[in-house]
Amino acid sequence: MENQKFYYDNKIVKLFIKATIIWGITAVTVGLLIAFQLAYPAYNFGLEFTTFGRMRPLHTNAVIFAFVGNAIFAGVYYSMQKLLKARMFSDVLSKIHFWGWQLIILLAAITFTLGISTSKEYAELEWPIDILITIVWVVFGWNMIGTIVKRRVQHIYAAIWWYLASFLGVAILHVVNSFELPVSLFKSYSIYAGAQDAVVQWWYGHNAVAFFLTTPFLGLMYYYLPKAANRPIYSYKLSIIHFWSLIFLYMWAGPHHLLYQALPDWAQALGVTFSIMLIAPSWGGMINGLLTLRGAWDKVRDSAVLKFFVVAVTAYGMSTFEGPMMSLKNVNQITHFTDWTIAHVHIAGMGWNAGLIFGMLYWMIPRLYKTKLYSEKLANTHFWIATLAILVYAIPLYWAAVTQWLMWREYTPEGFLAYPNFLETLTHILPMYTVRIVGGTLFLIGFLIMMYNLYKTMKSGSVEDNEAAEAPAFVSEGPRNPLKETVHRWMERKIVKFSIWVFIALVIGGAVEIIPMIFIKSNVPTIAAVTPYTPLELEGRDIYVSEGCHTCHSQVVRPFRWETDRYGEYSKIGEFVYDHPYQWGSRRTGPDLARAGYVGGPMYKNAAWHYNHFMNPQKMNEQSIMPNYAWFAKKELNLNLVPKKIRAMQTLRVPYAEGFDEIAVDDLLKQAKGIVADLKSSNIEIEPTKQMVAMIAYLHKLGGDIAPSVVEVGESSTETIEDIKLLTGEEDLNAAREIFTQTCVVCHGADGKGIATFPDLTDDEWISGDSPLNVYQSISNGKITKGMVPYKDTYSEKQIIQLTSYILLKLNSDEDSK
């Protein structure tokens, strides 16, 4: 058969490689910045543009879509051309793909920094960029499928099955999850609400891990590992079995991110079941990868490429065992909302994804530039630093997770939470956050070493942008001969049929999961008391969403005693029916806020407290790691958008009265003036149209609909105790001092003189009297309208007497403090 001459397009591969390295360094640097912010809040720099809530999505998106994304495209464009013995289908499509993707990344960086975000994890980009992603992704798929169609080989090798599944999977996920109703160029509302939104989001989120961070990498593994080891893949049969099993099963597992949360049991069971089953196909891939090195382990000793591949595949195996284990409900209660998830993600990200990318770059660049790697020693140094970095990063976080979880659920012998102040459980793990910074720094150092090594390698060679090659022309084998060809082998040369079967395997899981949640009303029972957000609350919610508050504060209380005692009533599915999008979060770096508006509940704080806390959290408690949000008091609400937002909500079936959009601004101002008056009674002056007022309104809405009224709380909290005797023992006073410094300092300050507008406990002015019984009752029953939380359900009677004694005998009688 006559050979055909053609040219590989190496230029596009080169461009994607360079983008991978540049964005990789950027992504890791931003990661390091947010690690610093979590340990030392000063690194938020007091600027709205650099707060953790905005930087965190920048880090995750930069890692996933900029670093990993460009690496996938570099690896796919290089290997596809070689495997299919064909140049990419269209140079124009390749260029549109490359520059379009870089534009998306740039827009993401700009919009996140400006606080433009939908808050849906790994899908935070607003609607115009979502459309751009769709277009660029279609261009990528078009180019890929076009190349497959014009190939010069009969059968499509296993690596390309994974590329194809990745393209189809991401396309389905992105389109379904991105259904949103635009209000302006930079603002939209998810068409899904509450629990439905949560299911769709984690169907997407979990499968973004699957079809962006797993399946394309398995494809890369199937190409680059055999090439680097110069040995064929261990088992092609295993590759067939684990390919179909994995792409089918992954799509069902999303609800394991929502265990014990406001979701029907059947959906949770579905997530758990399929997550456990995922171990089998995942380990099929790991086994196939590691056993490919049979007889080649001597090469691993010297080759940094193979070392990176071994760590990558091992990390894949570890993560895909750990993930299903984390999906077991009893394990999930430890791992969810703690740093375990962060450690898990980074084992996979730094080990599996980055490891495979590093190995691939070290292998591919010398071949592309027709030269030798500048330094194998530097590459090996990079390997050991990167591997050490993973351990230094992850181990402290596992430790932190278990420590914090144990503290959350610890009770005193009297039956009260041992650590009722959330901050106590956080400050305890801050040393681990400092160690995490060391891990991140090591990883960045390794990355910089690689960049230098690859730069020197590139300088020593040159890329042939159009590399000449030849291969026999493609001649179709025609219809299947059952005697000579198995069905799968036949499908491997039938791209359309193969794609259809992949599509079917992908959509079944998603359909079973999502359709019942959206269409079957019994899955989302409503609560009559729950009302839509007022225009002011909606404005506050939009700010909360765009600032990424959910990255630290969850809004869902799980049905555990240690959660309901700390936060209040557990969350019900019907509470979230007007939440576009939902805000349950996935990590509690700060306390849950689902009951922040539950007057009389343990999480309620009055307007003055919120104002002072936003202005300077460290002034309220110097150990707090929350960034300040002082600009809330300066920035204006955009009142022009209010009627549009109400109309958008009406379109999404939120039951505002007909014509409400016309009076929405008046309604907003009326409510805002009430909050302004409240703040004024605490000597705080603010205009009603400032963002601060909307944020306070929103926080006071949370959980408020299902809370008993203030009157009921007051009536039920009548104390029966008639008199108390102050305790003078050192032991009692020391115990009280400890409680005071953990809890009371937030409002009254360490010296008891009161922060901002909160009462001074050292002077002679007492709102409810200064007798021991008066003080005891103030602590026990609180003063809800003044922001004083009732502590009778948090501390025992003895502890409250200790506190009373400490306040009256130590703080109020200390002449120095007056």
Binding site: K82, Y374, P516, N523
Partner: protein, 65 residues
């Protein structure tokens, strides 16, 4: 779409759907597993080796520094 949503709203016993899905998967998995394992090994070897036949598959080499 109204017809679809009306129909879906009235589905009873949706909670057993995932069990049915599980059974379908297991059935297909067993079929696929058996058929794949019955494939001739020589065909597999040919496919596996096919990607190594090009100039990129040289032994690894570096300029030692």
């Amino acid at each position: 779409m109204k017809i679809v949503s009306n129909m879906l709203e009235n589905i009873e016993g949706i909670q057993i759907y995932y069990i049915i899905g599980l059974l379908i998967f297991f059935t297909l998995f067993v079929v696929m597993f058996v058929r794949t394992m019955k494939k001739p090994n020589n065909e597999m070897t040919e496919i596996k080796n096919s990607i190594l036949i090009d100039t990129d598959s040289d032994e690894l080499s570096t300029s030692e520094i």
